[in-house]
């Protein structure tokens, strides 16, 4: 087993166990920690395949921003005095079946796309991204910006609607 596959295995284990903790933990702060582990592992996968820029942005936006906001919200929530609730569901079997089916679909769909090893990885450092975004993808990039602006305007309209 080479060093690369060891790193890949560790990242995979962290990602999967983080996901499991996120779903099954009964304490919200534990869930947040699980989600954090999962997001770090995803950033690790990006770096592993050579997309260092994307990996760092993943850390910056999802760990430093989104997850912190989530924990911030959790801290403001009232803590139940009689412990955490139990998880009950009447759809256990169906949910497992759907999850398994989805997993199969994702694996079959992605098998041809995801590179087998680091050597065939995608190189998308800042220079390559720069060339793409300011070159052939410029229109798409600008359209993304316009879309985000429209979303912001929509939020202002929705939130400010009552005042008038």
């Amino acid at each position: 087993m080479s060093l690369e596959s060891v790193i890949f295995a560790v990242l995979g284990i962290v990602a999967v166990s983080g996901g499991i903790v996120t779903v099954f933990a009964r304490d919200v702060s534990r869930m947040a920690m699980g989600l954090g582990a999962f997001l770090v592992a995803v950033a690790g996968f990006f770096v592993y395949w050579g997309a260092t820029f994307l990996g760092i942005v993943q850390l910056f936006v999802y760990i430093g921003g989104v997850l912190v906001l989530m924990i911030f919200a959790i801290m403001l929530v009232h803590r139940s005095p009689d412990g955490s609730p139990t998880i009950e569901s009447r759809h256990d079997v169906a949910a497992i079946a759907v999850a398994g089916g989805l997993f199969f679909m994702v694996v079959t769909a992605l098998r041809g796309v995801v590179p087998d090893s680091v050597d065939q990885g995608i190189t998308s450092g800042p220079a390559e991204l720069n060339e793409a975004f300011l070159g052939p993808m410029l229109t798409h990039f600008e359209m993304g910006g316009v879309l985000l602006l429209a979303v912001l305007v929509a939020v202002v309209v929705i939130l400010g609607g009552d005042e008038r």
């Binding site: 702060s29 947040a32 924990i71 220079a127």
Partner: protein, 316 residues
């Protein structure tokens, strides 16, 4: 496996460097604070009291590691490490000598900004898991403050990315010219202030305000875990000083080998003394002043600096 071995070696070296830097930092802080308040500071143990912090560390390590009965034990125990590890990681991208940075990556600048941001989570979890009102308030204040000041801090580094056309620290150092110092002065002011806020030091120490919150998010910690929080704070200060010395003052100034490293350490020491000086000179800010400084003063200043650089670049 040589990559992994080198990584482990760097990790060990970084841990040692941060520990020693924290020891010297605490000693320096007490000495500078003493002089500012017309006292002498530590002087009994060793020359100039240098061994005082070592004795304090021994005391901290030997103290009982108390976990409050109401605390969320696992998160409480792991939180100091989540605060410390990212700070330790941020040391790897700093170019210490001509052509040498432990981790030479094309996204170095972003790495230095993004990775320490993880420690905010540790601070929040520490405050949350203590199940203590003071700790929770401290954690909330810390998170709001650290996220707000990340923005001007990141903006203040962008001038170098524009000037050098690269985010690789070694590329920026190759391009570095002396007249960048006056050109990026506004950015330096923004960086210096927001770095102090980012490591929760005075006058931005609202999260751990002693007179209001006892010690804020680490009020319930004792012994070695408390020491890890302290090491994270001093490590963050040293990393910020090193990073500032490298980019705003040219770091090793293209001097060969050890001379460059000594130059860099000397400049970083001056910056760190500046941070200590600020802490013991200014009174603690109010929360509204804190947020106002970040959003209404520092962020516009950083944007003005960016515009200046953008206008000047075609004539360079």
């Amino acid at each position: 496996m040589s990559g992994l071995a080198w990584g482990a070696l760097y990790g060990l070296a970084a841990g040692l460097v941060i520990a020693v830097a924290a020891l010297i930092g605490v000693w320096g802080e007490r000495k500078v604070a003493g002089r500012i308040q017309m006292r002498i500071g530590p002087q009994e143990l060793g020359p100039f009291g240098l061994l005082q912090t070592l004795a304090d560390t021994l005391k901290l390590v030997l103290k009982e590691d108390i976990t409050p009965a109401a605390a969320d034990v696992r998160i409480f125990r792991i939180a100091p490490l989540i605060v410390f590890a990212p700070i330790a990681m941020s040391f790897v991208i700093i170019p210490y000598a001509s052509g040498f940075a432990p981790l030479d990556t094309s996204v170095g600048i972003l790495f230095f900004m993004a990775v320490p941001a993880i420690s905010v989570i540790g601070v929040l979890l520490a405050g949350w898991s203590s199940r203590n009102t003071y700790a929770t308030i401290g954690g909330l204040r810390a998170a709001a403050q650290m996220i707000s000041y990340e923005l001007p801090r990141t903006l203040s580094i962008l001038p170098f990315v524009l000037l050098a056309g690269s985010m690789r620290p070694l590329d920026i150092m190759d391009e570095w010219r002396w007249w960048w110092i006056p050109l990026t002065f506004i950015a330096f002011v923004v960086y210096f202030i927001s770095s102090i806020a980012e490591v929760n030091r005075g006058p931005f120490d609202l999260p751990e305000a002693e007179s209001e919150l006892v010690a804020g998010y680490f009020a319930d910690y004792s012994g070695i875990r408390w020491a890890i929080f302290m090491m994270a704070e001093y490590g963050g200060m040293v990393a910020a000083a090193l990073f500032g010395a490298v980019f705003w003052f040219g770091g090793y100034l293209h001097l060969p080998g050890a001379f460059g490293v000594i130059m860099l350490i000397a400049m970083a020491t001056l910056l760190a003394i500046g941070m200590i000086w600020v802490k013991w000179t200014f009174p603690r800010m109010r929360p509204d002043q804190l947020m106002g400084t970040a959003w209404k003063v520092l962020t516009p200043m950083a944007l003005v600096q960016l515009v200046i650089i953008g206008v000047v670049i075609p004539w360079l």
